[in-house]
């Protein structure tokens, strides 16, 4: 069975500081990895995804994540955060083309990123 651990439940940072949100997963097969973001009182939006290919993936608003198979990690980073990045971030994993899983997502418990002025 797959599982996801987000190591920090809350991360407070100052504006323009760098941030890293950590995510580790456990799975016995190849995986697809995702970061979703949820702004206050809103639904989930995809931030970025790893399906295959380059292990470094980027979003349009400056976030990046690197798939590290040996460490089973998919940490999210941004070199300089803005007030508007304040949100809850969820890491999620699904089993890939191994079949049988029906691509069910397992989510971490979330990390609340608060960017202070």
């Amino acid at each position: 069975a797959q599982s996801v651990t987000q190591l920090d439940s809350q991360v407070p940072v100052f504006e323009e500081a760098p941030v890293e949100l950590r995510c580790n997963y456990s799975s016995s097969v190849s995986v697809y990895l995702f970061w979703y973001v949820q702004y206050p009182n809103q639904g989930l939006q995809l931030l970025l995804k790893y399906l295959s290919g380059s292990t470094l993936v980027e979003s349009i608003n400056g976030f990046e994540a690197e798939f590290n198979k040996s460490q089973t990690s998919f940490h999210l980073r941004k070199p300089s955060v803005h007030i508007s990045d304040t949100a809850e971030y969820f890491c999620a994993v699904s089993e890939g083309q191994s079949g049988g899983s029906n691509y069910k997502l397992t989510f971490g418990k979330g990390t609340l990123l608060t960017v202070n002025p």
């Binding site: 987000q6 439940s9 697809y32 995702f34 979703y36 639904g43 989930l44 939006q45 995809l46 995804k49 399906l51 295959s52 969820f90 999620a92 699904s94 890939g96 083309q97 029906n102 691509y103 069910k104 997502l105 397992t106 989510f107 971490g108 418990k109 979330g110």
Partner: protein
């Protein structure tokens, strides 16, 4: 964005009453999923569907049932609502092949008094 809607968006009900939440997608996606979101738990899978009339249980399926009679609709039913089912419910869909992200609906906030 994928066209996925949920109804109702908000509902308050009483313990013991039946409740049905509807998820509707216009993308002809094969897979559909119901999750619940609770503070400190992230999102947890309730039930999912891998085709019309094909459904299976997720992690937290007790007290819930689902039905999918058409590709575009996936219904979640609480046969007899309990206060522990107070939550925000999200529906998601995924195209055939699976090599994609799931597309989420806007959510339904359910309060069981």
């Amino acid at each position: 964005d994928a066209g996925i809607t949920q109804s109702p968006r908000h509902k308050v009900t009483e313990t013991g009453t039946p409740v049905t939440l509807r998820c509707h997608q216009t993308e002809n996606h094969r897979y559909m999923y119901w999750y619940r979101q609770d503070p400190g738990h992230g999102l947890r899978l309730i039930h999912y569907s891998y085709g019309v009339k094909d459904t299976d249980k997720g992690e937290v399926s007790d007290g819930y049932s689902v039905s999918r009679s058409k590709t575009e609709d996936f219904l979640l039913t609480l046969e007899s609502a309990t206060s522990s089912q107070t939550s925000v419910y999200f529906c998601a869909s995924l195209p055939s092949g699976g090599a994609s992200e799931q597309f989420f609906g806007p959510g339904t906030r359910l309060t069981v008094l």
